[in-house]
Every structure is written in C-alpha cells, then in structure tokens.
C-alpha cells in the first residue's frame, strides 16, 4: 500500500508549523507519530496535499511540574508518559492510562498530542483528561488558549481545535488517588469502555471513553456517589447516546460502562 501523493514539510518550530498550517489550509495535515494518519493515508481514506511533520520540534516533549500541575508536552510519547517517574509519582492514573494504549511499538511512537487531536471516540487519554480537569494548551497564529477537556472533545473525531491551531501541551492537576480501567476490544485493543476515576478529598470525578461519540464526564455518577459504588455507577450512561458496533451493542456497552465505573470507584484508595 502506498498513500496518494503529498508534499512533506518538516517544521522546526511551533511558529513555522503554524505558518505552514495557515498557508496550506484544509489541505494540510499535521503528523507527529503518524500511527493514526499514515494507515488512513495508505488506505487512501485520507489524501492530504501537504503533511507537516511536527514530530521533531524541540521543546514539545518534556514533562514538567508546575505548582499543582504537571505540564506534558504534546510530543511526549505514550511510553515516555507511562514510564516517567514524575508522572508515576504525581499522577499515576495517567501513567496507567498511557501504558494501556495499543502495544509497545505504538506507545514508542504515538504521542499524547496526536492522540488528543485525533480524538478517536475509543481513545484512552480522554477519560483521564476529563476526570482530572486537565487543560489542553493550544496555539494558533492568533495566539494561545487553554481548553478544558469538556470543551475540547466535541464529537466523533471532533475537537475544539481550530484548523489553524496545534496542541502544545497538556496541563493536568496532580492527583494521587486515581485509576483507569479498560475493557479492550479484542482486535483493535481500543477501549470498548474505559473509565478513569479520581478521588480528590471527599469528591470523585469520573471520565468515560469508548461509550459515546466522544468521551464524557459522568456527572450523574459523581452527584450520586455517596460511598456506594454500585448504586452510583448505575448512572454511568445517564443522558448519553451510547455507541453500538459489531462487537458491542449499545445495551451491552452501557452495561460495561456501569461495571467499569463501579470497578474503578471500588479500586480507588
């Protein structure tokens, strides 16, 4: 297989990448790891005229502490996040999530920025992004902005990211008590259901992925939770249009969402 013809440009800075995006418009596609884009291009499901490589832009692959937050560069690989001592120490749920993505090879190449921008409805990160109240820091030619998870994920593969914007970093509040549990699709290993639960003081927060056309915060569970995981998890899909496919009907997926919410809640320390 071989993609349709395109022009490849390697960007050496964020500003260069943004200028290129502006110049080439809708015909351009950013590439970081490429594990979602390149197969689609080979299958010719996607035929961008220009591919802008942001994978080697310096400064986008660091993991830093900033007060109560961790700031994770968009180009950090899943592997880097899964094995980072800081992440494991301060936000283990994120390391756990990163470790559950794909397989070793995919984790070595795929990036958190790429994954979030791609916004696969069954991707793993969005659950923890939502549950942890993380912010996606993006930059466009008109400047920078910071988008909350609930605003960022809008639909199937749809995000708040403007066509001339790119993700620079993810800012996530540290959380010591969190868990991500996933029911993997036996073929793709994507999340049929993935649940991130975080406990902060008395409150809990729940992010669910794989269930609907985009990841969501299970507010109904959070409201209902009074220490009884089972009862609260009954609300996991309240008001949600649950997806259905050949492997899992919406009825079964709803059931799994409840089971994994309950399990995640019960696993919290």
């Amino acid at each position: 297989m071989i993609p349709a013809k395109f022009e490849y440009i390697k960007a050496s800075s964020v500003s260069e990448a943004l200028a290129l995006l502006d110049k080439h418009g809708d015909d351009a596609q950013l590439i970081a790891g490429g594990h979602s884009l390149v197969p689609a291009m080979k299958l010719r499901l996607n035929q961008p005229g220009t591919v802008i490589d942001i994978g080697k832009i310096p400064g986008l692959n660091s993991i830093k502490e900033d007060g109560d937050d961790l700031v994770i560069g968009a180009n950090c690989t899943h592997h880097q996040i899964a094995t980072s001592p800081i992440v494991k120490q301060k936000l283990n749920v994120l390391a756990q999530t990163a470790k559950s993505i794909g397989d070793i090879q995919v984790r070595n190449k795929g990036t958190i920025g790429g994954s979030l921008a791609h916004a696969d409805p069954a991707a793993d990160y969005p659950a923890v992004i939502l549950a942890s109240d993380a912010k996606i820091e993006v930059e466009g030619i008109n400047g920078k902005r910071s988008i909350s998870g609930s605003d960022f994920f809008q639909g199937i593969y749809a995000t708040a990211l403007g066509s001339h914007e790119m993700i620079i970093a993810i800012r996530i509040p540290k959380a010591s008590n969190g868990v991500y549990l996933k029911f993997s699709h036996p073929a793709s290993r994507f999340a049929v259901v993935g649940c991130a639960a975080i406990k902060n003081g008395a409150g809990i927060s729940i992010g669910l992925t794989g269930v609907a056309d985009h990841a969501y915060r299970a507010s109904a569970v959070e409201r209902a939770y009074d220490g009884d995981a089972k009862a609260a998890s009954e609300h996991a899909v309240d008001g949600v249009a649950v997806m259905s496919d050949n492997f899992a009907s919406s009825e079964y997926r709803s059931h799994l969402a409840k089971v994994f919410t309950e399990r995640a809640l019960s696993a919290l320390g």
Partner: protein, 153 residues
C-alpha cells in the same frame, strides 16, 4: 527528499519520495527484506524494527520521518557473526515456523528485554500484544524470550 539514516551501523544517504514508508525504504532501497510487511497498517507487527533504540512498526512511519535516526533491523542483530541471544533462543526453542512474523517478534522482544531484562510470563505476553503469529500459538515464542532473558543475564 534526501534523508540520512544509520542502518545496522552503516550510514545511508538516499533520495526518497515522501509517500514511502520506512518499511518499504528498508526493503526496496536498502534491500533489507528481513523486515516484513503483513498488514501495512501497524497492526500485525511483522515490520517491527528498532528506531533510536525503541521498537517501532516501520510500516506506519514515513521514511522521511526517520531522517537522522539510527535503525536496527533483523539483519543487524547478530554482531561479529555471533547470533543475538534472542535469535539463538528462537531457534533452540522452536519459536518460529513459517518465519514471516519472526523478525518482528525478535525485534519487539529485543526492545522488551532492553527495558525489562526480567520479564514475567505475563509481561512477555503483554509485550507481544502488537505482534501476530498465526503458526506457533505463541507458546514457543514466549519460551524463547524467557530463555533469551535468562541467557542474557
């Protein structure tokens, strides 16, 4: 576009079209056909190589993305005529049958053992999540990796 890569310790400067995957580059330009293409969409793992020390699937990396990288393929694993312990272990333990997935399996295992020299059976099995084998039922592949880990101590 011109790219410069070091493959199995040897530097190559090549002109490639951006459409070319790294797997195709290795196979068609450098004639290193030990890197196999089974699905071409990063699911089966037959094309696994190490790129800057990390196991990756070369079918979904563009050759131009690999510019400036150091690459090891199955052909570069044996050093000075001496098989890598993984290669010997795969032969000793019948870790292969048709041989098609084998280079990818060995390269994945090499990445796995670099990071975790003492993997449990479970860690090995999860470590092979990205590689299909249709012949062996994985039984002897897992055994091979266990034995290689043992012999590399």
């Amino acid at each position: 576009m011109q790219i410069k890569v070091s493959v199995n310790g040897k530097e190559h400067i090549s002109d490639v079209v951006p459409m070319m995957s790294l797997a195709s580059y290795l196979r068609e330009v450098l004639l290193l056909t030990g890197t196999h293409i089974g699905c071409d969409t990063s699911s089966c793992g037959a094309c696994t190589i190490t790129l800057d020390g990390k196991a990756v699937k070369s079918c979904t990396i563009l050759a131009v993305q690999a510019d400036g990288s150091e690459i090891t393929t199955i052909e570069g694993l044996a050093k000075n005529g001496e098989m890598h312990p993984l290669q010997s272990a795969f032969k000793e333990n019948h870790g292969l049958q048709c041989g098609f997935c084998t280079p990818g399996m060995i390269m994945t295992a090499s990445g796995l053992l670099d990071e975790n020299p003492n993997p449990s059976e479970d860690e090995i099995r999860h470590g092979l999540e990205g590689n299909f084998c249709r012949c062996t039922g994985y039984h002897n592949i897992v055994k091979s990796i266990q034995h290689a880990a043992e012999s590399m101590k």
